[in-house]
């Protein structure tokens, strides 16, 4: 047997048990890029099928949520908004938050939502959470288009910080995806994750500067407040768009490192757990 294996041609692929940490197979992910985009376009095209308003919801949804926020937090609770009209302030915060929330929730649900694929076909499992990104980013892009119109209406101009916008987007997405990869892997074995996550997200939203400015937080407590990496990232996002906010380089460095670390940890944790998916799901 062994002798024969030696003088035969080189196998195209060798399957053997793996254990422990695995490398991220970028070449294989690239090979499967068509699957990623096909799954993404499936998600986008089925989302508004059998709705009357269809794509209009993409525009209506953020406007309605920002409207509710302005009423509850701006008018009733009178939370500070760094001197910009509260509606605009809430709209910006909500968009950054939605980017985070949608990236995390959708990547979290991507394995269980496609359980039949996981147990019946082989492909790099990372494709599933990654394929949720395009639809999230599309929503975000539409909202950014609306933001330009809103800023013209409210006469608010961005500063030179606008050029850093891609950086904040990248960091917010990395943080969300990193956490999402871990929760998705855990949810395969423990469905509890799906119950804990919405509660945790709600908690996190009120613990981050989405509906209020950081100036509402007692300066003595800000150190603790910025331990939440999302606080720094949301504040950075708002600063880049509206040129307002409370930022210092320490907070930025901490949040950025946290986001990158979360993403890398998420990738490797996912790779480590993925071999059990098909057996357990």
């Amino acid at each position: 047997m062994e002798v024969r294996a030696q003088h035969g041609p080189k196998p195209y692929l060798t399957i053997r048990p793996t254990s422990g940490w695995q490398a991220i197979e970028l070449a294989e992910l690239w090979q499967y890029r068509d699957l990623l985009f096909t799954l993404a376009s499936r998600d986008i095209s089925i989302r508004y099928k059998q709705t009357v308003l269809g794509v209009v919801w993409v525009i209506l949804q953020p406007l309605i949520s920002a409207g509710i926020f302005s009423f509850v937090f701006g008018k009733v609770a009178k939370l500070p908004s760094d001197g910009v009209p509260y509606f605009l302030f809430a709209f910006v915060g909500l968009q950054a938050w939605s980017l985070f929330n949608n990236t995390l929730s959708k990547s979290n649900g991507s394995l269980l939502g496609n359980a039949h694929l996981v147990s019946k076909v082989y492909f790099p499992r990372l494709i599933l959470p990654l394929s949720t990104l395009p639809s999230t980013l599309l929503d975000f892009a539409v909202a950014m288009g609306m933001l330009i119109i809103l800023m013209v209406i409210y006469h608010v101009a961005p500063g030179w910080g606008l050029f850093t916008l891609p950086l904040w987007l990248l960091l917010i997405t990395m943080l969300a995806m990193g956490v999402g990869l871990i929760t998705a892997s855990l949810a395969v074995s423990f469905r509890d994750v799906n119950y804990i996550l919405p509660v945790a997200m709600q908690f996190l939203m009120y613990g981050s500067p989405v509906a209020y400015a950081v100036s509402a937080v007692d300066p003595k407590l800000r150190f603790v407040y910025f331990l939440n990496p999302l606080s720094g990232l949301l504040e950075g996002f708002r600063w880049s768009v509206m040129n307002r906010g409370h930022l210092n380089s320490g907070v930025i460095a901490y949040s950025a490192c946290f986001a990158v670390a979360a993403f890398v940890t998420g990738l490797f944790a996912f790779r480590r757990m993925e071999k059990r998916f098909a057996d357990v799901i």
Binding site: G8, P17, L39, N114, V121
Partner: protein
């Protein structure tokens, strides 16, 4: 060794699953944590189940290999490992070529998407590049016979159209090694034939290697040059299809004998609601005397005992007897529903009797499944309830019978010539 090239080489392949014992199974995180907290040092009580154990085999390029065995023999696990869906626990597999696997037709089909969109989606899921699908698109549509409905969401398709479209995509996969699970069990017969033909072509003309799991022995026999018989996660025998097949049928016959010798009332492998249970099946001659064997052309009776487990009116009851060959091909079904006899059970127990004035089966061994329904809800269903041995007899009353190769079923016939 032979000069032929290898397609698949499997050495020492094992796969185990860990089964936690009932009281130890934690389906929620809290349970798992609480248990850990209570017993910080206790090791989990688990049992290791070997779905596959020390498999060694090689498959040459261009071969069509059937993998046969009972449910739970490890066939599906083997295919899942070969197609990389799950990892082996031990062992090494070398694959000499791109693998395409088809463990289910229409994996990933989305009901809301149109036929056209689903071709792209399903193709991508099976590992085809977009450009590849585009190139083959017309051939796929042609093969599927659903071209008029390409822009209709597949949720509006009939199940036949759905399967045809799904299989059409799969049939145009272009891997060097194709792995196919029991997918031909669905779809209509003529389309199944077309698919089998297509798969046969793939290996003959293009030198592709095909691994094929099926319970349909006729399909395996037609398609595969060699076979691997699995039982309990191990290879029982591998080699020429005919030899492996007869080994399998023999072992099946032995199993069936063991099962049949258990009284029907004591059988545990039954399904259904259980409010009416079948307690005995006897095969009798015309006078109602139980017999060991019957001959073609004779008058026989099936007597099927029942018991009602709850009193009250048992109306609209149908009993059914299905007859199949040992290789699992159904020949016919007998039922009072077909003869339009309405049965109402008024006694707590009794017997259904089905009389066949003239047995049309040719000599051979047959398997019988029995079932009873009430208001179309299955009450009891036992597979392989009995065997039926038919000896050659004078069906036509002429002393002549068709040659065994053309046997099977006899028909009453009237000839004339002008």
């Amino acid at each position: 060794m032979s000069s032929k090239d290898l397609a698949v080489s499997v050495r020492g392949l094992s796969k185990s699953y860990t089964i936690a014992h009932n009281d130890e199974k934690h389906t929620t995180l809290a349970e798992a944590l609480v248990h850990r907290a209570k017993n910080p040092f206790a090791r989990r009580q688990t049992e290791t189940f070997w779905a596959l154990k020390d498999l060694d085999f090689e498959i040459e390029k261009g071969d069509v290999v059937g993998i046969i065995g009972r449910n739970g023999a490890g066939k599906s696990t083997l295919l899942k490992i070969l197609s990389r869906i799950t990892e082996p626990t031990r062992g090494v597999i070398d694959l000499y070529g791109r693998v395409g696997s088809l463990l289910e037709v229409g994996t990933g089909f989305h009901p809301e998407l149109t036929g056209r969109e689903n071709i792209y989606l399903n193709g991508a899921i099976l590992g085809m590049r977009r450009s590849e699908i585009q190139r083959q698109f017309d051939a796929i549509v042609d093969f599927s016979e659903v071209s008029q409905f390409l822009d209709t969401p597949v949720k509006r398709y009939s199940s036949g159209m759905y399967v045809r479209l799904a299989f059409a995509v799969a049939a145009h996969l272009n891997p060097e090694i194709l792995i196919v699970d029991e997918v031909l069990a669905v779809g209509d017969v003529s389309f199944q034939k077309k698919c089998l033909g297509k798969m046969g072509d793939v290996s003959r003309q293009e030198g592709k290697t095909v691994l094929f799991v099926s319970h349909n022995m006729a399909a395996v026999e037609k398609l595969c040059r060699s076979c691997i018989l699995l039982a309990g996660g191990q290879i029982v025998v591998a080699g020429e299809t005919a030899a492996v097949m007869s080994e399998y049928l023999d072992s099946r016959a032995a199993e069936v004998d063991a099962q049949v010798s258990t009284a029907l009332a004591d059988r545990k492998d039954r399904q259904g609601e259980g409010q009416i249970r079948l307690t005995a099946l006897t095969i009798c001659d015309a006078n109602g005397v139980p017999v060991e064997a019957v001959a073609s052309g004779e008058s026989i009776q099936f007597r099927l005992g029942y018991q009602c487990c709850e009193p009250g009116p048992n109306t609209n009851v149908t009993a059914a007897i299905a007859i199949s060959t040992h290789s699992g091909n159904f020949i016919t079904m007998l039922s009072n529903e077909l003869s339009d006899d309405q049965f109402e059970l008024t006694r707590p127990s009794g017997v259904f009797t089905c009389r066949l004035p003239k047995l049309t089966l040719s000599a051979g061994h047959y398997l019988i499944n029995v079932a009873v329904n009430r208001n179309s809800i299955m009450q009891d269903w036992i597979q392989e309830a009995a065997t039926l041995t038919v000896e050659s007899g004078d069906y036509f009353g002429t002393g002549r019978t068709p040659p065994p190769s053309h046997g099977g079923v006899y028909f009453h016939q009237q000839w004339s010539v002008d």
